[in-house]
């Protein structure tokens, strides 16, 4: 084991570049899956004829498939249909598809938890369905949804590591390159890798816990 060699600036900088890609992919996927998840969740909740049932079925399908399969499909499967995505775009697309289905379920159950009287009162005051949803029900549901959403985003950050399989240059992939050169670096690099993931995810978890405490108080 060579701890000093492994933690040289060159290796650490390389690993941190990987972390940057991990964070980039995570942030973009989080924003996209938040928006798409919110729309899908509301659509599924709203019970629009046929549309809600179809959306609900698709959400259930995606939720029950492994993310790895979705990543493979977007990168290796889509070119068959003439859609050739860049590695980064493919990773973001796959993560967004999977996580927005997960978020949609969180949104739906959050909205369901707001008492129906709120919606009725808003409608009785002359708001349209969309207005009532947007100004009255959604803000109240948001309070309940923040902790589960944050823990979903923690797992999104962790799941970006699966994209090494399509050679996305993120942290795990860079770590593999480093210990591939010198096997004495194996344990130190694994420790550094796990440590960096841990710091990112644990701070998000703490945030989730903080909101959880504030909501329940």
């Amino acid at each position: 084991m060579d701890w000093f060699g492994a933690y040289s600036w060159i290796n650490m900088r390389y690993l941190l570049q990987g972390l940057l890609v991990t964070i980039q992919v995570s942030v973009i996927s989080i924003i996209l899956s938040f928006i798409i998840g919110a729309v899908l969740g509301v659509v599924r909740y709203s019970k629009i004829k046929y549309v809600s049932a179809i959306v609900g079925f698709i959400i259930d399908l995606v939720r029950n498939l492994p993310l790895l399969l979705i990543i493979f499909f977007t990168y290796f499967g889509l070119p068959t249909f003439g859609i050739r995505l860049d590695i980064m775009v493919a990773a973001i697309t796959a993560l967004t598809v999977f996580e927005s289905a997960m978020c949609a379920e969180i949104f739906r159950s959050g909205i369901k938890a707001v008492s129906p009287g709120q919606m009725e009162a808003a409608r009785a005051n002359g708001m349209t369905y969309v207005q009532a949803m947007f100004h009255v029900v959604f803000p109240q549901a948001m309070k309940l949804m923040i902790p589960p959403l944050l823990s979903q985003f923690v797992s999104l950050v962790k799941d970006t590591s699966l994209a090494t399989i399509i050679v996305l240059p993120e942290m795990l992939y860079h770590a593999q390159n480093i210990y591939g050169q010198n096997t004495n670096y194996l344990i130190p690099i694994f420790v550094a890798l796990a440590g960096m993931y841990w710091v990112v995810c644990f701070s998000l978890s703490l945030l989730a816990k903080f909101f959880d405490k504030r909501m329940s108080a």
Binding site: L68, D159, I165, F190
Partner: protein, 213 residues
């Protein structure tokens, strides 16, 4: 698509068997480890509490793939030889047990403290009170989230593909690299995964509705 399935039925079935086998092993392991960790976390003995909390907080915040890779690459080099399947399953067990522990802990904590006090004041020991009074009440609350974690476990077993664990995902890669027919292969594999996870997820929804009342 049907042609590929007919040609490679044996491989697909072997993969599915491995996925189910690995999931079952990891499920059993995670239940035991998770239960122990949860009991550690809520125990009144300080050192046990610290061990439980540290274990859960570490493995909940590290990607499954990193844990699995550790067992696949580091352990064989320094400790003992290990096949891809066992490395994958052990990684999966350790990772999932942290989540199971959280679920079990939350379930036990949701039992009103009055139940504890009543049991203890009737002369039961801590373990008796836990075993006969608190835990049976907690199980009702634990089952739905535990089911959801189990579905996640089955899906996560696809990381065995990274470590040559011969699971469904691994076979999918093998077959699609032989036939160059990615889309039909992934389609079949997707359906096979859904055959495992969909019934579980409907069962969970049913249980959730039933236990809610």
């Amino acid at each position: 698509m049907i042609e590929i399935f007919q040609t490679y039925t044996a491989e697909f079935m072997q993969g599915m068997g491995m996925t189910i086998f690995s999931s079952l092993l990891a499920f059993a392991g995670s239940i035991i480890l998770g239960l122990v960790c949860a009991l550690f976390e809520i125990s009144p003995i300080k050192p046990l509490k610290i061990i439980g909390t540290v274990y859960v907080e570490i493995f909940r915040n590290i990607p499954l793939l990193v844990v699995t890779m550790f067992f696949y690459i580091v352990i064989p080099k320094y400790v003992m030889p290990m096949s891809g399947f066992s490395a994958g399953t052990i990684g999966l067990t350790i990772y999932t047990s942290a989540f199971f522990a959280e679920v079990i802990k939350a379930g036990i904590n949701s039992v009103p403290t009055g139940q504890w006090e009543a049991a203890r004041s009737n002369g039961m020991t801590y373990l008796q009170a836990m075993h006969h009074i608190v835990f049976p009440q907690a199980v009702r609350i634990i089952i739905p989230p535990l089911g959801n974690q189990t579905i996640t476990l089955v899906k996560n077993s696809s990381v065995l593909a990274f470590v040559a664990g011969f699971d469904l995902m691994y076979q999918a890669n093998q077959i699609s690299s032989i036939t160059f027919q990615q889309v039909p292969t992934y389609f079949i594999v997707g359906i096979l995964y859904l055959i495992i996870t969909m019934p579980l997820s409907y069962l969970m929804r049913h249980l959730e509705n039933k236990l809610e009342v």
